[in-house]
C-alpha cells in the first residue's frame, strides 16, 4: 500500500482510525510512564511485569469465561502486580540478586501462563478464546470500547502522573532525601509502580506480553537523548511512543496479519537509533565531532609545546624557525604535524617564517606557559574547565 493510500485509509476507514487512535494513546501512555522506569533502572521490571501478566489473562478468562477486555486487563494487572511483589520479595529476603529474580519471575510466570492458555484451548467445550493474540498483539482486534478503555484509563494514569509529579521526581532522583523530608516514599513507590503496571497491561492486546516492555523503554531512552529536562523528556517520550504506536498499528493492520507488537517495536527502535546518533549534545555524531576537535586541539598543543621547548633550548627570543621535519621527529612520526601547525597559525600561536620552517610567536609562548607551567594561570584554566561543561553524560568529571 502506498503512503497516499494509507493516508486515505486513515481518513476514511473507521476501523483503521480506531486502531490508530488506540495504539497511539497506548504508545503515549507507555512512553510517558516509561521515563520513570528507565530513570529508576527498572527497564527490565517492565519486561517481568508484562510476562507475569499472562497467567492473569488466562485465569481471568478461565474464571469468568469472559473475553471482555476490562476483565482480562484486570486479571493481567493483578498478576503483573503479584509478579512485581515476588521480585521485590525475593531480592529482599534472599541472596538472589535482582537480575536473577526478574529472570525467574518473567519466565516462570510466562510458563504458568502458557500452561493455562494451552489448558483453556484444549478443553473440549472451549470455544477458541483467541487469547494467543496476547502474545504478540493484534491491533486489528481493537474495538471501539477497547480504545475507550485505553484512552480513559491512560488519561487517568497521566493525570495522576501530573498530579504527583513532584513526589515521583523526588522518588526517582533521591528517595532517601524524600524520606528525610517526611514523605511516605513507600506509598509513592507503590503508586508509581501501579501506574507502570497499568500502562503495561493496557498494551497487552495491541502489542503483546512478549514485547510490551520495549514500548515502555524505547521512547524514554530516545527522548532522554534530546533533552536534559524531566518534563520535556516525559512529553517527548509520550509523543514518540504515540508516533510509534500509530505507525506500527497502521502498518500491521493494513499489512495482512503481520503481528502488531513487533511492528511497533521496530518503529520505536528506529527512533532510538536515530536519537542516539543525531541528537544534539548527547548524540554520538556530535560526540565524535567534539572528540575530533579536542584531539585536534591536543595535537596542536603538543606541537606548540615542541616549538616552545625548541625555542627554550635555543635560548633566543623565539623567532628562530625550525624545520617541520624536526617537529615531526619530536613526536615519533605521528601524522598531522603540518595540520597542527595550520591550527596553531590560525590562532596566531605559530607562523611559517619561510617554507617548511616554523617559529613560535610571542602569543604562542604565552599560551604554552599557561598550558604547561604548573601554577601559571591555574585559576583561569580551572574555571574554563568547569564552565565549558564538556564532560560526557554519566561520567565523573
Amino acid at each position: 500500500m502506498s503512503d497516499g493510500g494509507l493516508f486515505h485509509a486513515l481518513l476514511f476507514d473507521y476501523t483503521l482510525r480506531t486502531v490508530a487512535l488506540g495504539a497511539g494513546a497506548l504508545g503515549a501512555v507507555a512512553g510517558a510512564l516509561g521515563c520513570f522506569a528507565v530513570l529508576r533502572r527498572q527497564s527490565l521490571l517492565g519486561d517481568a511485569i508484562s510476562h507475569a501478566a499472562l497467567p492473569g489473562i488466562g485465569l481471568a478468562f478461565l474464571l469468568t469465561g469472559s473475553r471482555a477486555t476490562p476483565v482480562l486487563v484486570l486479571g493481567a494487572a493483578l498478576a503483573g502486580w503479584i509478579g512485581t511483589l515476588f521480585v521485590l520479595g525475593i531480592v529482599k529476603h534472599s541472596r538472589i540478586p535482582e537480575d536473577s529474580a526478574l529472570g525467574i519471575i518473567l519466565s516462570v510466570f510466562f510458563g504458568i501462563g502458557l500452561v493455562i492458555l494451552t489448558f483453556v484451548q484444549r478443553r473440549p467445550t472451549a470455544a477458541q478464546a483467541g487469547l494467543e493474540t496476547f502474545l504478540f498483539g493484534q491491533a486489528a482486534t481493537l474495538m471501539v470500547r477497547d480504545v475507550l478503555l485505553i484512552v480513559g484509563v491512560g488519561a487517568v494514569a497521566l493525570l495522576l502522573l501530573a498530579l504527583f509529579w513532584k513526589e515521583f521526581k523526588l522518588l526517582t532522583f533521591d528517595r532517601e532525601f524524600g524520606v528525610a523530608l517526611g514523605f511516605p516514599m513507600v506509598r509513592i513507590d507503590v503508586l508509581l509502580t501501579t501506574l507502570l503496571v497499568v500502562g503495561i497491561v493496557l498494551g497487552l492486546q495491541t502489542v503483546g506480553v512478549v514485547l510490551m516492555s520495549a514500548l515502555v523503554v524505547a521512547p524514554a531512552a530516545a527522548a532522554r537523548q534530546w533533552t536534559d529536562s524531566l518534563s520535556v523528556m516525559v512529553i517527548l517520550a509520550g509523543v514518540l511512543g504515540g508516533i510509534a504506536g500509530v505507525t506500527g498499528a497502521l502498518v500491521s493492520a493494513t499489512g495482512g496479519g503481520v503481528p502488531t507488537g513487533p511492528t511497533i517495536v521496530l518503529v520505536a527502535s528506529a527512533v532510538v537509533v536515530v536519537s542516539l546518533l543525531v541528537a544534539p549534545g548527547r548524540g554520538l555524531v556530535s560526540e565524535l565531532v567534539r572528540r575530533f576537535r579536542v584531539r585536534r586541539r591536543v595535537r596542536a598543543d603538543v606541537v606548540l609545546s615542541d616549538l616552545y621547548a625548541l625555542a627554550a633550548q635555543h635560548g633566543e627570543s623565539g623567532e628562530h624557525a625550525h624545520p617541520v621535519a624536526v617537529l615531526r621527529a619530536m613526536h615519533r612520526g605521528q601524522a598531522g604535524t603540518r595540520r597542527s601547525l595550520g591550527v596553531l597559525a590560525e590562532r596566531g600561536w605559530a607562523r611559517e617564517v619561510e617554507p617548511d620552517r616554523w617559529a613560535i610567536t610571542p602569543e604562542g609562548v604565552e599560551r604554552a606557559r599557561t598550558l604547561f607551567l604548573p601554577g601559571a594561570g591555574e585559576d583561569g584554566a580551572g574555571a574554563q574547565v568547569e564552565d565549558r561543561g564538556v564532560v560526557a553524560p554519566g561520567g565523573e568529571p
Binding site: 528507565v38 533502572r41 527497564s43 527490565l44 519486561d47 510476562h51 529476603h93 534472599s94 541472596r95 538472589i96 540478586p97 537480575d99 536473577s100 529474580a101 526478574l102 529472570g103 525467574i104 518473567l106 519466565s107 516462570v108 510466570f109 510466562f110 510458563g111 504458568i112 501462563g113 502458557l114 500452561v115 492458555l117 494451552t118 489448558f119 484444549r122 494467543e132 502474545l135 504478540f136 512478549v210 514485547l211 516492555s213 520495549a214 523503554v217 524505547a218 524514554a220 531512552a221 532522554r224 537523548q225 496479519g257 503481520v258 503481528p259 507488537g261 513487533p262 511492528t263 517495536v265 521496530l266 527502535s269 532510538v272 542516539l276 554520538l284 560526557a392 553524560p393 554519566g394 561520567g395
Partner: protein, 370 residues
C-alpha cells in the same frame, strides 16, 4: 508409559540439565537477563540462516543462531558503553528489536514453512520425537535428543576444562586478569556456550522458557549450598526433577509441557526460598526469633558496660530504665535479664540495679570489639 513418553522425558531432562549448568555462572555473574536477551535474539539467526539454506535441519542454523547470541551480548555492551543508556535499558532495547525483526520475517515470508510464531514461544517438545535421526536407513532416535545431548556433553566438558578460569573470573575479575586470563575472552567464550545451549533448547521449550530452565534451578541451588561444585551438581538435579515433574503435571491436565516444566522450576525455587535449611525464609524467621533474645542480652550488657561507673550509672542501669530507653516490654526485659543472670553475666542488686559480673564485662567487651 509409552516409548514416546520416555523419549520426551529423556529430552526434557537433557535440555533442563544442559541449561542449568551454564545457568550457575549466569546467576553468579549477574548475567541472568543476558540469557533472556540471547534466547530471544537467536531467533533472528535461525530465520536468516533458514532463508539462506531453506532447511530447518541444517547445521548452519545452529551456527548462525549462536553467533547472533554472542552479537547480542556485544551490542548490549556497546550500547551501554556509549553511556547514553544504562545497562538494563540497553538489554531492554537490543533484544526486542532483533526479536521483532525475526518475528516479522517469519510472519511475512515463512508463514507456510515449519517455522511459526507460536512454536517460538511454546517450543514443541511434544513433537520433537517425531523428527528422527536416520543414518543409512537406521532409526537412531529423535534428532533433537542427539543435538541436545551433544550440547550437554559440550557444557560438561567446557565446565570441566575451564573450571578454574570461570571460577576465578566470576569471583574476582581483577585477579583473573592479573593471572593472565583475559576476562573478555572468558566472558565471550562463556556467552557463546550460553548461546549454543539456548539454540539447542529453543527448539524444545521456546525462547522464554529457556530462561526459566537456566536461572531458576541454579538460583534454588544457591540457596541450598555455599560450595560451587555442590551448586553445579544440585542445579542439574533440580533441573532434571523440574523436567520430569513438569512433564507429568502437563500430562495430567493436558497442557503445554514446556510451560509446565518452567512452572515446576518455579515451584522448586519457591520451595527453596521458603524452606532452605539456612537461607530459607522460614529458617530466617526462626533464627531471628532465637537471636533476638541473644542480641538483646548482648545489647543489655554493652549498655551496662557503657554506663558502668559513669555519673548516671545509678539511673541508667535500672531495671525500669531498660523498658524506657531500650524500648523493651517489661516482660521481655525480665526474660532477657533472667537469661543473662542464669548465664552468670550479671547480678541484680538491691533497688533493681543491675551489675555486670567480671565474666559479663569480659563478654560485653569482646562482643563490642567484634
Amino acid at each position: 508409559m509409552s516409548a514416546l513418553d520416555v523419549e520426551i522425558q529423556l529430552l526434557a531432562v537433557v535440555v533442563a540439565v544442559a541449561c542449568a549448568l551454564p545457568g550457575v555462572f549466569l546467576v553468579l555473574r549477574r548475567l541472568a537477563l543476558m540469557s533472556d536477551a540471547i534466547s530471544h535474539s537467536i531467533l533472528l539467526g535461525i530465520v536468516l540462516a533458514f532463508f539462506w539454506v531453506q532447511d530447518l535441519a541444517h547445521p548452519l542454523l545452529v551456527l548462525a543462531a549462536t553467533a547472533t547470541g554472542v552479537i547480542t551480548v556485544a551490542l548490549v555492551e556497546a550500547l551501554h558503553r556509549t553511556r547514553r543508556v544504562k545497562e538494563d535499558a540497553a538489554i531492554a532495547l537490543v533484544f526486542p528489536a532483533l526479536f521483532s525483526v525475526a518475528v516479522l520475517l517469519i510472519a511475512r515470508y515463512a508463514g507456510s514453512v515449519h517455522l511459526d510464531v507460536d512454536a517460538v514461544l511454546l517450543g514443541e517438545i511434544a513433537f520433537s520425537p517425531f523428527r528422527r535421526l536416520e543414518v543409512a536407513g537406521m532409526d537412531l532416535g529423535p534428532r533433537s535428543l542427539w543435538l541436545m545431548s551433544a550440547i550437554l556433553v559440550l557444557n560438561v566438558a567446557a565446565l570441566a576444562v575451564f573450571w578454574k578460569e570461570l571460577k576465578v573470573s566470576t569471583f574476582d575479575a581483577g585477579l583473573a586478569a592479573a593471572m593472565g586470563f583475559s576476562p573478555a575472552l572468558i566472558h565471550y567464550g562463556f556467552m557463546g556456550l550460553v548461546s549454543v545451549t539456548a539454540v539447542g533448547a529453543f527448539d524444545a521449550v521456546g525462547s522464554i522458557l529457556v530462561v526459566a530452565l537456566m536461572i531458576a534451578p541454579p538460583a534454588a541451588a544457591w540457596l541450598l549450598t555455599d560450595r560451587l561444585p555442590v551448586m553445579v551438581v544440585l542445579s542439574g538435579a533440580l533441573a532434571a526433577f523440574s523436567a520430569v515433574a513438569g512433564f507429568w503435571a502437563a500430562r495430567a491436565i493436558d497442557a503445554s509441557i514446556a510451560g509446565s516444566m518452567a512452572a515446576m522450576a518455579g515451584v522448586v525455587f519457591l520451595a527453596a526460598i521458603l524452606f532452605a535449611p539456612h537461607r530459607g525464609v522460614v529458617a530466617g524467621i526462626r533464627r531471628r526469633a532465637r537471636q533476638r533474645l541473644d542480641f538483646a542480652r548482648t545489647m543489655l550488657m554493652v549498655h551496662l558496660l557503657n554506663h558502668e561507673g559513669g555519673a548516671r550509672a545509678r539511673v541508667e542501669n535500672q531495671m525500669g530504665h531498660l523498658q524506657e530507653h531500650l524500648q523493651w516490654s517489661p516482660d521481655f526485659a525480665r526474660r532477657v535479664v533472667r537469661r543473662a543472670e542464669r548465664q552468670g553475666l550479671l547480678e541484680r542488686q538491691s533497688g533493681g540495679r543491675l551489675r555486670l559480673t567480671p565474666l559479663g564485662r569480659e563478654e560485653a567487651r569482646h562482643r563490642m570489639v567484634r
